[in-house]
């Protein structure tokens, strides 16, 4: 355990870029969506980080790039020291087996015509796990693990016979089958009723801890990060603008966007109804024509004329393990 700090991180995103070409009629280029635009972070084995950001800021694009489903247009992803760009064929397949994916829409994640057993057996077959008895054993163990019991009964069900929460449990079971080192969960609970969200997050948290799996938990709901992640990365317009251990970020946010998110976010309290919340004006910018300089500057209450709209802020380190891309944090 104590050697972890000196070890190579499990995952490194190095100035990662994923741009999408926008085309009309399939060939005329009409612009570029800078969905992921210079993302840098590292993730240690067994660590849980949350990626928080508003709709359209690039969270799913980042997830899919880390999974090797989008080819980065710049920069690099390294997993256990190896660049994804170098992975081909069997090596890429092996990478996919070591990274579980819980995708954003649980209702679209499971093939509707496959019963649960087949949906879970498929990845095992694809990755050459056998014999059949071994596959069955793993499927039952995974179903038990995610609380879909009795497994014998659940195996024969089809997705439409399950509630949203149960479907998401199946998706988590599938992500666990190949004993991954990392799970990327993209808004795993946002489509679910509030009452089942905590159950599913508890489940993810438990399996992550028990198997020492690293977790990237993507969400737009900052109020859920505290109990399910050790570190938070705040994303805005294709970039990570602040990252820090959860408690530091909550106690002393260093980026005005993070401050805005925190002040917009209420815990239930009757006093909330008695005053207006301070919210930066405007909406998240276009990723096709992002504002120059700091992308938050048109909405930032602390923007400094002549600086923020002209120069892109690099990451500053206002405290150990704390990074913020904001000119206010530039050392004197």
């Amino acid at each position: 355990m104590n050697t972890r700090a000196q070890q190579e991180p499990l995952l490194v995103a190095d100035d990662l870029q994923t741009h999408f070409e926008l085309r009309q009629w399939g060939f005329i280029r009409t612009g570029t969506v800078r969905a992921v635009d210079g993302v840098r972070f590292t993730l240690d084995a067994g660590e849980a980080v949350a990626v928080v950001g508003e709709s359209g800021c690039g969270k799913s694009s980042l997830a899919r790039t880390l999974l090797g489903l989008n080819r980065p247009t710049g920069g690099d992803v390294r997993f256990a020291g190896q660049s994804l760009a170098e992975l081909r064929g069997a090596a890429m397949k092996d990478y996919r087996a070591r990274v579980g994916y819980v995708q954003q829409d649980p209702y679209g994640a499971l093939p509707p015509f496959m019963d649960i057993r087949r949906a879970l057996e498929e990845p095992l077959i694809v990755h050459g796990i056998g014999p059949r008895a071994e596959r069955e054993r793993r499927i039952d163990a995974a179903l038990e693990e995610v609380g879909l019991t009795p497994a014998a009964e659940m195996r024969g069900k089809f997705p439409h016979q399950l509630s949203g929460g149960q479907q998401q449990r199946v998706v988590i079971a599938r992500a666990l089958l190949l004993r991954p080192k990392l799970i990327i969960a993209d808004e795993p609970v946002s489509m679910l009723d509030a009452s089942v969200r905590v159950e599913i997050l508890d489940l993810l948290h438990r399996v992550q801890r028990e198997h020492d799996i690293a977790l990237i938990y993507i969400t737009h709901d900052l109020s859920t990060v505290r109990h399910y992640a050790g570190r938070v990365m705040v994303m805005y317009a294709g970039r990570i603008v602040e990252q820090a251990p959860v408690d530091d970020l909550l106690a002393a946010p260093q980026h005005p966007y993070t401050e805005a998110l925190l002040s917009a976010l209420a815990d239930p309290d009757p006093a909330n109804a008695r005053h207006m919340r301070e919210i930066p004006a405007g909406e998240a910018p276009s990723l096709v024509t992002p504002p120059p300089g700091c992308r938050f500057h048109p909405r930032c209450p602390q923007a400094m004329a002549g600086v923020c709209e002209t120069r892109d802020p690099p990451d500053f380190h206002p405290a150990p393990e704390h990074r913020a891309a904001c000119w206010l944090r530039e050392p004197e």
Binding site: V198, L201, H227, P268, D269, A273
Partner: protein, 329 residues
């Protein structure tokens, strides 16, 4: 507009309201004996898990029910007059849009894609009030301003607006006729935190400036506290607790309310949220006795009987036997 002199007299009183859907598997008791009261300039939040009957309640109130809905029973009194008994024609002329407006769940995705949003926002005035196009558009422009959209957006089509703007536009549509009561069904659940918060600001402003009453339907407890004067928590077609916001958020009385509050993830609290085990019962064949009994850690013998409604405090009602303080009902 007020008919009654006493500002504390209820604007809307709902008494023993019931409605069933007919299905091939039998009737679904979606609204099953609901009692509620909304006063002038008061915001009532209706909370509850998915499927507990929140949208059905809103649809009964506005008579926008689907074909397979049975005839509602009970009373809905607006300024003391039972509007449930009105003919459809009079209801349309005197109540819907005129006194009570509804922003339906997912309404922002139901805007007509080929009609400019300004026309759509002005439509209730033209149809329900017979205003000229010009006057209606002028009023729509004011409503846009009120909800925080620049008036030149009136000329745009829905797809040219962001989700937050479309939600503001449907809110403007509910406000153009200056109704006394606006019912909002999950108005912010598909939106970002910042957009959500700014829409809640808009609602607070309207409530303050216009004295409008609100029924806000949601399953998001934290957001609900941004507007609530009072909270009603529904479970399996019934209201299990109705309380002032102060009491509900700080010392809820019903075991389900207490568990719901403990299940909310909080940013500024050490304690981890605790999920509520189990699932709500079927509305086709609800269990006898207390409907929450199967999930209630405090269940005792009496819970086999349907709980009566008790009043632990002024304007505070709880449907749970634990609150039977010596038989006062």
């Amino acid at each position: 507009m007020a008919v009654t002199a006493n500002p504390d007299s209820p604007l809307l009183e709902i008494e023993d309201l019931r409605m069933q859907y007919r299905t091939e598997q039998g009737p679904v008791n979606a609204v099953d004996g609901v009692n509620l009261e909304i006063r002038r300039n008061e915001a009532l939040v209706v909370l509850g898990e998915s499927g507990c009957g929140k949208s059905s309640l809103a649809k009964v109130l506005l008579r926008t029910l689907p074909r397979n809905a049975g005839r509602p029973s009970g009373q809905v009194r607006l300024d003391g007059r039972d509007v449930l008994a009105l003919s459809e024609d009079r209801f349309r002329r005197e109540v819907r849009w005129v006194r009570i407006a509804l922003v339906m769940q997912a309404a922002m995705n139901a805007l007509n894609p080929v009609v400019r949003v300004g026309e759509q926002v002005a439509e209730p005035l033209r149809i329900h009030r017979g205003w000229s196009r010009r006057a209606a558009m002028a009023r729509a422009a004011e409503a846009f301003e009120e909800v925080g959209i620049a008036a030149d957006f009136l000329q745009r089509y829905p797809h040219e607006l962001s989700g937050g703007m479309r939600q503001r536009a449907v809110l403007a549509m509910a406000l153009v006729t200056d109704p006394d009561l606006v019912i909002l069904d999950e108005p912010t659940s598909a939106l970002d935190v910042l957009t959500q918060a700014s829409i809640m600001n808009v609602l607070k402003g309207i409530k303050r400036d216009r004295g409008t009453s609100f029924v806000l339907i949601t399953h998001d407890v934290a957001t609900s506290s941004e507007l609530a004067d009072r909270v009603a928590l529904m479970y399996a077609g019934q209201v299990v607790e109705e309380a002032p916001a102060e009491a509900f958020f700080t010392a809820p009385a019903h075991p389900y309310s207490q568990m719901l509050m403990a299940s909310v993830p909080r940013l500024r609290q050490e304690a981890a949220p605790v999920p509520i085990p189990g699932r709500p019962p079927s509305l086709q064949d609800p269990p006898a006795g207390c409907r929450f009994a199967a999930r209630c850690p405090r269940r005792f013998e009496r819970c086999a009987d349907d709980p009566a409604v008790f009043h632990p405090d002024e304007r505070h009602r709880v449907r749970c036997w634990l609150h039977d303080a010596g038989g006062t009902g």
